[in-house]
């Protein structure tokens, strides 16, 4: 198995509080890994640490490797080309139009002050069409609904055309049909050999991934294939047995347990 992302002895402190307690993790290349866990488990912090985006105010120790290289040894622009990031609740100026936002995804591929190339235009067009945002490419972001904005931001992340894609809560504001579209988009990325890592609260959607990282209280309590029963029991356990995972029509679904 080729490793796309690796962390070793990763500890993150926020002030006096340690939020990640020394973890080791290897994310397989070309696979989709979902990170799940209850609120405050440290999922977003882990994702930011994997992306090298933790602010200096958070004391980080340990090592992060991308495609076998230490993160610190990778040049800033090369990092931007290798890894695409879609953050939780990502904002964008209401003044920018959809096309402009998606084109920002091509920044890592453009020289300073250079005009976008034909390839940049082609990638942005493909990304906007893939997220079904092409028809409103000239509309300002301020005129879009929350779900429509999220699709534009996904297009921006797709336009980077990186080998690794990290997404924190990418389904926020998306209605069920567009969640399915997102799922198909991820399958498409996997077919192209892209490594996808996502933090998801929708356990049913997360179970479509190849692998699952289950977190609780700043620690990884389980890492394994989604289809494994032991993985599913670990998910139920971190949610205090208040959900149950069942097979339904060839898929896994997470249902709430009442009583």
């Amino acid at each position: 198995m080729t490793a796309a992302l690796q962390v070793h002895a990763l500890r993150v402190r926020l002030g006096a509080q340690e939020v990640l307690h020394g973890m080791d993790l290897t994310i397989a290349a070309g696979r989709w890994t979902s990170i799940v866990g209850p609120n405050g488990a440290g999922k977003s912090t882990l994702l930011k640490a994997l992306a090298g985006l933790l602010p200096p105010s958070q004391q980080v120790s340990g090592q992060v490797h991308w495609l076998g290289q230490p993160l610190a040894a990778i040049d800033r622009r090369e990092r931007a080309r290798q890894l695409s990031w879609l953050g939780q609740g990502e904002s964008a100026s209401d003044d920018l139009c959809v096309w402009d936002v998606a084109m920002l995804g091509r920044l890592p591929h453009q020289d300073w002050l250079a005009a976008p190339s034909a390839q940049d235009h082609a990638m942005v067009e493909a990304a906007l069409k893939a997220t079904q945002a092409w028809d409103w490419r000239e509309r300002p972001l301020g005129q879009l609904s929350g779900g429509e904005r999220q699709r534009v931001l996904l297009a921006r992340a797709l336009a980077v055309n990186a080998r690794i894609m990290l997404m924190d809560e990418p389904l926020a504001n998306l209605d069920p049909p567009h969640q399915v579209d997102w799922l198909e988009q991820v399958q498409c990325l996997l077919a192209q050999g892209t490594t996808v890592v996502s933090v998801l609260h929708e356990i049913g959607m997360a179970l479509h991934a190849d692998d699952m990282v289950v977190m609780q209280a700043g620690q990884i309590v389980h890492h394994g294939a989604c289809a494994d029963e032991v993985t599913q029991r670990a998910i139920e356990a971190v949610f205090d047995q208040r959900i149950a995972i069942h097979p339904l029509a060839g898929q896994w679904v997470a249902l709430p347990k009442s009583g």
């Binding site: 992306a51 953050g87 990502e90 890592p108």
Partner: protein, 334 residues
């Protein structure tokens, strides 16, 4: 894609209106209109047009353009539509820089010598940079809008108080600062005008090269970082450009409120575009705003003159109150 036509047409329109305003300002005397082509035949009238009215009008336009540019940069950089050179304390810092310079080296804000004007501009620039940095330290970054604005207000008030104390302590400084504190284009001669225009060209060029950084920053810090934007140096450069624009304008014209805040809002009300366009359009709108206010200040109670800073405060404040009431009635936060 942002349609280039609409912002392009608007920028051309604003530039033409600015040029018309400068021509109008050159013809407007304290006792009425005197077209410059009539002054061609009278050496004294020509001297008034060439040495007083033209640099003053052109300087007012360039100074307003710099305040508009600084406002657009501040609002983009801090992702806050209320950010402007005043609310971040940089104008008060620039004013204190000028007061300290005058206390230490003497001179007057009315002086027209190159070294005095460069010294005043340098002092205002340093004051503006330090004030913005102090605001950012007190606000612990730019994440929290309320904290940022409160810190800016506190820095502005405290630095204003220090300037007032200096003025009381050194009465000879106060004499030079009096018109300056109210904001006036009356001090602007050719030296100041050339300085304003030269710094404006540099600031616009730097701002345009950084426009994509502002676009990326609008997606949030993490996304901008993930796109390879060198955030720390970019921020420092943008704060530097903002302080240079504010400091140069304040050093030549004194404290002129609301132009930096209102110009980007006016532009945004007409056209929504990338930061490359909005920075350019805000500069052109700021120039036109201050030039129009200067013409009004010269004409309203002629042959007396109102300090233009007083007029911009009244008009700009009124405009923003109107915008605020519209936002409240439509429930819009933009």
């Amino acid at each position: 894609m942002t349609k280039p036509l609409k912002p392009g047409v608007l920028s051309l329109l604003l530039a033409l209106l600015g040029a018309a305003g400068v021509a109008l300002g050159s013809a407007m005397g304290s006792t009425g209109w005197e077209p410059w082509w009539q002054a061609l035949h009278d050496p004294v009238s020509w001297q008034i047009v060439w040495d007083i009215r033209l640099p003053r009008s052109l300087g007012a336009w360039a100074g307003g353009a710099m305040l508009g540019l600084a406002g657009a940069l501040a609002q983009g950089l801090f992702r806050n539509p209320l950010a402007d050179p005043y609310l971040l304390g940089s104008a008060s810092g620039a004013s204190l820089g000028v007061a300290i310079y005058l206390s230490l080296f003497g001179g007057s804000t009315l002086a027209s010598g190159w070294w005095v004007r460069l010294g005043l501009t340098g002092a205002a620039f340093v004051g503006a940079v330090l004030a913005v940095l102090l605001t950012l330290v007190l606000a612990r970054g730019v994440q929290h809008t309320l904290r940022l604005l409160l810190a800016g207000v506190i820095v502005g008030v405290v630095l204003g108080a220090v300037t007032s104390f200096l003025n009381l302590w050194r009465p000879e400084v106060w004499q030079g600062m009096q018109g300056f504190m109210l904001g006036s284009t009356g001090f602007v001669g050719w030296t100041a005008c050339v300085l304003l225009c030269a710094v404006l060209v540099v600031c616009v060029a730097l701002a345009l090269t950084m426009a994509r950084v502002l676009d990326a920053l609008s997606l949030g810090e993490n996304t901008a970082l993930s796109l390879g934007v060198p955030l720390a140096p970019a921020r420092m450069l943008l704060v530097g450009v903002m302080a240079m624009a504010t400091g140069t304008a304040v050093a030549q014209m004194g404290l002129i409120a609301f132009v930096g805040l209102a110009a980007p809002h006016l532009v945004r009300a007409v056209v929504r575009a990338t930061h490359g366009w909005s920075v350019l359009l805000s500069a052109l709108a700021g120039g036109l705003l201050l030039l129009s206010a200067d013409l009004l200040a010269r004409g309203l109670i002629a042959p007396q003159e109102m300090p233009v800073g007083v007029l911009t405060a009244v008009l700009g404040g009124g405009y923003l109150l109107w915008r605020m009431s519209r936002m409240t009635s439509t429930g819009s936060g933009a």
